[in-house]
Amino acid sequence: MSVYKQIHSLPQPTLLREQHYQYLKKGLRHLSDAYECLDASRPWLCFWILHSLELLQEPIPAAVASDVCQFLARCQSPTGGFAGGPGQHAHLAPTYAAVNALCIIGTDEAYNVIDREKLLDFLWSVKQPDGSFVMHVGGEVDVRSAYCAASVASLTNILTPKLFENTTNWILSCQNWEGGLSGVPGLEAHGGYTFCGTAALVILGKEHMLDLKALLRWVVSRQMRFEGGFQGRCNKLVDGCYSFWQAGLLPLLHRALYKEGESELSQQRWMFEQQALQEYILLCCQNPTGGLLDKPGKSRDFYHTCYCLSGLSIAQHFGNMDNHYEVILGKEENRLAPTHPVYNICPEKVAQALQHFLRMPVPEVSRQPGG
């Protein structure tokens, strides 16, 4: 009761740090049977929870970190890549999540879990001749796969141009008449897929090949003028998770335009209404007992907790080569750690992982591409 009053009567919106921390701390160990539907996504649960904790600047006890490493090691497939759970087949989404989670932990134990040679074999096994990737052997194609592959390959230093041959053109073919990107060519522009395609191109150094102006127009138009949050597609409803998938595009586009010689970019703000997004998240997306959510009336879950907090961080922190400018709605205690707009883990963890893996040679390929 008192927390409800707190949210709706105090002059300042408050991030319910302690409540979110307890929710996350518990979930990292135990989940109710309501989570049976995510039994093939357990590395995701690790990532969503660990990333939320790192944004809240809550330390991960060494014992817990080690347990996560050992669990993710059991999720690693003998043929490379990570699966949704022990004994399952490898899949690019839990592979992305596992590598990110291990990089958040950032210990040698964590880095050593990843079998880089086998990971490269796995990526080759899901690569398609047209440049796309299937999500798993015998599985579906969409632009998420390119992002997952590019993310893990770049972080662990197994990326070669050959691995991503034709991938750039395939991703570019996903930009449509709306200016955003679709899951596969021909479909409607969608925030999640647009983020994946754009971030993948940034990793490949090819983001300039997009129609950046059209993409910029599309994404800024996805911020809802009344709610302040973002919708995933034109004429659909707001959802807290798009606070990251959509708003996270603005730092990427800012940098892309800067590299293209754009001289009129702001040096203080992203090209979305940062305060309004923070208001939406803090006033509409928090569960009083901990965890964040899509919109009022929906249930909390770890996915929305991760992406609402990630979006809040994007809205709080502006940074380019030379400066860092903060806009914190409410008390200073609402401040989250900054997040890297490409990988969505903290920038220090990205740098640390790159430094670690760049010391190692890129593995030789031992298998042929899949069909």
Binding site: S41, V68, G87, E140, E178, G186, N235, M271, Q274, I328
Partner: protein, 340 residues
């Protein structure tokens, strides 16, 4: 209540395999007894690579408990082939599963595989239409629909299908996208008669629902490759609408027309410098109007566009005069500021 596998005589020969989460599990799910029972036996089947009828039956139970388990779906497909199962029956099965769980990746991918194996798309358009009647924007459904249409060349009635959906909800952006999909893969947008018909269609929908962003986006999206100012009379028609059917989308469209005009003037025709200045002035006025009054949520964006346009086409850009100063205040590094 169904008997657990552990208590079924026909399964007594198989030793269930418990999940190996390790000694100190994380993200440990409190599975129901039913869930653990089925998956312990699934793991046993997988371990032995068993390809039997009972294995096939078990996959249905495993799917029922977690339809997102892609390992189970893959195994089911292996069994469908190894046991030469009746794929028409499988179509019935997957139809029911999708009706229950239409927002799951695996179920749609499975249906696509079965349709491919049968080489029979005859039920697809009707089935997808039924799913769309329950959720007209289901992304998986549209993806499957586009695949079927493209793979089996079923274009003939799709524009009519789209128009019906737009009749029901003119704001259905998925339907607008499908419209673009059908036309670009059939007549294309090069035919002037097609373009004129589509412009007419858009303007009619805009008159009925002026604040429908989809219609405006479609109008722009269709014309942008050729350039908005390439369509004679369009600017005038939009200016007419401005009086009675104004919206932030109309204003943005006008801005885009002016920007396109500036883009093309400087490249091709000899135009009065006055006329160019006037176009720039009108474009900048719209930016200001949108940033400050009509579309303030996008203030940062409209102000950026205004600065960009001024920089590119403004006073200093066309002659040797020095450029106007960037009106933004300069800031020092690592500043921090609380919003109100």
């Amino acid at each position: 209540c169904v008997t657990k596998y552990i208590n079924r005589k026909e399964w007594a020969d198989l030793e269930p395999v418990p999940q190996d989460d390790g000694p100190n599990p994380v993200v440990k799910i409190a599975y129901s007894e039913k869930f653990s029972d089925v998956y312990d036996y699934f793991r046993a089947l997988l371990k032995n690579d068993e390809k039997t009828e009972r294995a096939f039956a078990l996959t249905a139970d495993a799917i029922d408990l977690n339809a997102a388990n892609y390992t189970v779906w893959h195994y089911r497909r292996v069994l469908l082939q190894a046991l030469s199962k009746d794929l028409k029956e499988e179509m019935k099965y997957i139809t029911n599963i999708i009706e229950e769980q239409p927002k799951n990746y695996q179920v749609w991918h499975h249906r696509r595989m079965v349709v491919e194996w049968l080489n029979d798309p005859s039920e697809e358009l009707r089935f997808i239409a039924d799913i769309l009647s329950q959720d007209a924007k289901n992304y998986h459904a549209w993806q499957h629909r586009q695949w079927v249409i493209q793979e089996y060349k079923l274009w003939d009635n799709e524009l009519e299908f789209v128009e019906n959906l737009l009749e029901e909800d003119v704001r259905n952006n998925s339907a607008w996208n499908q419209r673009h999909f059908v036309i670009s893969h059939t007549t294309g947008f090069s035919d002037p008669a097609v373009v004129e018909r589509e412009i007419q269609y858009c303007l009619n929908q805009i008159r009925k629902a002026p604040h429908n962003e989809s219609a405006w986006n479609y109008l722009k999206g269709m014309l942008q490759d050729r350039g908005l100012s390439s369509q004679p009379g369009l600017l005038e028609r939009v200016l007419e609408l401005k009086e009675t059917h104004c919206s932030p989308y109309l204003l943005a469209f006008l801005f885009d027309c002016y920007e396109d005009a500036l883009e093309n003037i400087t490249q091709k025709e000899k135009v009065e410098e006055e006329e160019q200045k006037e176009t720039l002035r009108k474009a900048l006025e719209i930016c200001r109007l949108l940033a400050q009054e009509k579309d303030t949520i996008r203030k940062e964006y409209w102000e950026f566009l205004g600065r960009s346009l001024r920089n590119k086409y403004g006073n200093g850009a066309l002659s040797d005069e020095p450029m106007a100063e960037n009106p933004e205040p300069s800031i020092s590094a690592s500043q921090s500021q609380e919003a109100s």
